[in-house]
């Protein structure tokens, strides 16, 4: 990806002109300042307020520790408000959703791209149609299905299966997985087949190892989507002890003092932000990828 080379909008000759250089340079500085204030500012405020006593945050929200720190907010959020438990729930849900999504997307993409049974076209067509259906159409019947599953006859409400199982049905994941497999060199498959590899061996030992980049991207987006998910867990997890952070935080807003509440929110941000900083490249590449599919 040409992330380092700038677009060629401004030609070399133009750069030499001082008016362009200083004008665009100034624009860049302004942009950077705006990005810091707007993009980073709110998070910095959250971090600061998480360790500021509630009273100070209420009366002097833009002050900088007028009465010292309140590290206790963080520990109180983690222990008394039980953020630790909700954090753990979020992690468990994310892992399950990730596994479910990866399992469905890799097997389906492999079948549609490499194995290519005769009916693959039909399924791919169905898949693409599903991609166009807005999520709201599914909401109510899926909910009822989870409340009263037809064959199993035991409710999935308040179990994590209610989240993990539907998570696998992501047409987007299957499409990009399939696309990636389409672009793998077929000769390697042929060589493997000639060596006697069956479909499972081919999948496990050849295709998957070659797909590390796309697996990485799908994984990151799966975990991130799960961390951010709100409406569905809100509906299917009515037991507070099972709820993830995103569902629990709004419910405890009325019962938690502001400083502790902000500390809880800060903790909820840590994993996504840290993950982003570490896996930046994959994030941004994946975002560009989704743009490539849409474009």
């Amino acid at each position: 990806m040409s992330e380092e080379r700038p677009a060629a909008l401004i030609s070399h000759a133009e750069w030499l002109r001082p008016s362009v250089r200083y004008g665009v340079g100034a624009a860049h500085v302004v942009l950077l300042v705006l990005l810091v204030v707007v993009g980073l500012g709110p998070l910095l405020w959250l971090a600061k307020s998480a360790i500021t006593p509630t009273n100070d945050t209420i009366t002097h929200p833009m002050g900088l520790f007028p009465n010292g720190f309140a590290w206790g907010n963080l520990s109180e959020a983690w222990n008394n408000v039980d953020v630790a438990r909700y954090f753990w729930n979020t992690v468990v849900i994310a892992i399950g959703s990730w596994a479910s999504q990866l399992f469905v997307a890799t097997t389906a993409g492999y079948a549609l791209s490499v194995l290519r049974p005769k009916y693959a076209k039909v399924i791919t067509g169905l898949l693409l149609t599903t991609l166009f259906v807005p999520g709201v159409v599914l909401l109510v019947p899926l909910y009822i299905e989870v409340v009263r599953p037809p064959i199993v006859h035991h409710t999935l409400i308040d179990t994590y299966w209610a989240i993990w199982l539907p998570a696998g049905a992501s047409a987007f994941n299957v499409v990009i997985m399939k696309r990636f497999f389409d672009n793998l060199p077929r000769e390697i498959f042929e060589a493997a087949r000639i060596d006697g590899a069956g479909p499972f061996m081919l999948f496990w030992k050849i295709v998957l190892p070659m797909s590390k980049p796309i697996l990485g991207v799908v994984s990151i987006f799966a975990v991130l989507a799960s961390w951010k998910d709100f409406l569905w867990p809100l509906l299917v997890l009515t037991d507070p002890s099972k709820q993830p952070l995103s569902v629990r935080l709004p419910s405890i807003e009325g019962q938690t003092e502001l400083g502790v509440f902000l500390a809880a929110m800060f903790i909820a941000c840590l994993v996504p932000v840290a993950g982003f900083l570490v896996f930046q490249r994959s994030f941004l590449r994946g975002s560009g990828l989704s743009g490539a599919i849409k474009g």
Partner: protein, 455 residues
């Protein structure tokens, strides 16, 4: 062939996976009966949780064949519907008066008539309260947990700072307005705040105001009831709010208070007065560690109108419909022990009070009597020595409530009526130029539609 073996292995794996997806059935034991019971609102303090667990231990000791599992529980409209549909409510759960009858009629709570009638104190129940626990077929489906009347809560400290006498809370709505203005001018804090959230609490409090002026939201019963939301008293109540909000500016700047956040704001000393159930002091202590010295409780000011009264409501404990016979017996035993015994048995009342006191939980919060007058007064003397709430600061309410008519909430489609009023309250408080008449008419037709369709 190798691939067939792997294929078979894969088939087995898929089969196992499918089996895993099937949730396991709940194990049932032979001798002990297990019931799950609603315990505390999620987020309660550890002390409150300890107290509840202590009571569970006491019950299990007295009834070795019953095992009780506490489940944190809070009744909110969306989660209740979900749990009801999914059947994940605890064996014993709680519902407000307004929902109990509909649930009973729809067969969504168990019929416990025979078990309740077998209780030794059955004849001493307050008839009005028992009526709320009876469905339209005459079956008793609940035992009362508590009944409350609406009340005016006020911050004694802010009263003092505003130059008002904390022992003389306002007794008319005009006085409420004047006192609110004084508080705002002298302390900068809102003198009077009102619930205005879209979760039916706005309509609930407005209905309280309207009742206190002598108005009613409905006439008749059931699906043939007629909605009367746009009666003159509602207009007066809204105009009062409008005046306080826009002319006096004594209502502060936040107009989306719900039941918990208004308690939170009050406990933090941020507001002067508000209307809510007379029993919220328990929540103020259990969730927010309120400073007892700021708390004052007054009766709702009533207009000089023979229809003026104070809105009352309450909570009932009910049993899941598909509980087994043994579970129903155990459930009623628990309900008897936890909800009723402290009011009918001296020994239990004292034991209960001791447990609550040990865990620093409030004892003696004013409530409406669940039993007849004689029994209620007797019960009060038992716990007299243990009362740890600032009962003297609640005197205005305790004295005044006996002169007030307690009126039940609108009977038909209660929540829908409240919901229709939510928007009107919000509009009055956030838009200076609201057309009250037209909004009320709209709310009225919305409520009428809900009533006629029985929803």
């Amino acid at each position: 062939m190798k691939s067939i073996r792997t294929v078979t292995a894969a088939l087995v794996a898929v089969g196992l996976l499918a089996a895993c997806a099937t949730a396991a059935a709940v194990a049932s034991s032979t001798k002990t009966v297990t019931i799950s019971v609603a315990s505390l609102i999620p987020g309660s303090t550890q002390a409150a949780i300890n107290q509840f667990n202590a009571q569970v231990a006491e019950f299990e000791k007295a009834n070795p064949s019953i095992k009780v599992e506490p489940v944190q529980y809070q009744w909110t409209a969306p989660t209740f519907a979900a749990k009801l549909a999914a059947g994940t409510l605890p064996t014993v759960f709680e519902v407000p008066f307004t929902d109990a009858r509909s649930l009973g009629d729809a067969g969504q709570v168990a019929d416990i008539t025979s078990l309740v009638k077998a209780l030794p104190y059955y004849s001493k129940f307050n008839k009005a309260v028992l009526a709320e626990a009876t469905d339209s077929k005459g079956q008793i489906i609940a035992l009362p947990k508590g009944a409350y009347a609406q009340a005016l809560h006020y911050n004694r400290q802010l009263f003092q700072q505003a130059g008002l006498n904390p022992n003389k809370p306002p007794t008319t709505w005009a006085q409420v307005e004047a006192d609110a203005l004084a508080i705002h001018q002298k302390t900068g804090k809102p003198g009077y705040v009102e619930m205005a959230k879209d979760d039916n609490t706005a309509g609930w409090i407005l209905t309280t105001l309207v009742y206190s002026l002598g108005g009613r939201m409905e006439t008749g019963r059931g699906t043939s009831a007629k909605a009367t939301l746009d009666n003159p008293q509602t207009v007066s109540a809204l105009n009062l709010l409008k005046h306080m909000r826009w002319t006096d500016n004594s209502m502060g700047s936040n107009f989306d208070y719900g039941w918990s956040d208004i308690n939170q704001a009050f406990a933090a000393g941020q507001v002067g007065m508000y209307v809510s159930g007379s029993d919220v002091y328990t929540n103020l202590v259990q969730a927010y560690n309120v400073n007892p010295s700021i708390y004052g409780l007054a009766p709702i000011p009533l207009a000089k109108n023979k229809n003026a009264g104070v809105l009352g409501g309450g909570t009932l404990a009910v049993v899941k419909p598909n509980a087994s016979a043994a579970q129903k017996v155990a459930a009623v035993k628990w309900m008897d022990f936890f909800y009723e015994e402290p009011l009918v048995s001296k020994a239990q009342a004292i034991r209960n009070a001791k447990t609550l006191a040990a865990n620093k939980q409030p004892i003696g919060v004013p409530a409406l009597p669940l039993f007849d007058k004689a029994q209620s007064q007797l019960a009060n003397t038992w716990i007299q020595p243990y009362i740890n709430v600032p009962i003297s600061q609640m005197k205005p309410f305790l004295n005044g409530i006996y002169n007030e008519n307690v009126i039940p909430e609108p009977e038909a489609s209660t929540q829908s009526v409240y919901h229709a009023l939510d928007a009107v309250v919000e509009s009055v408080l956030t838009n200076k130029n609201t057309d009250i008449q037209s909004m009320l008419q709209q709310a009225n037709s919305e409520a009428q539609q809900a009533i006629s369709s029985g929803s």
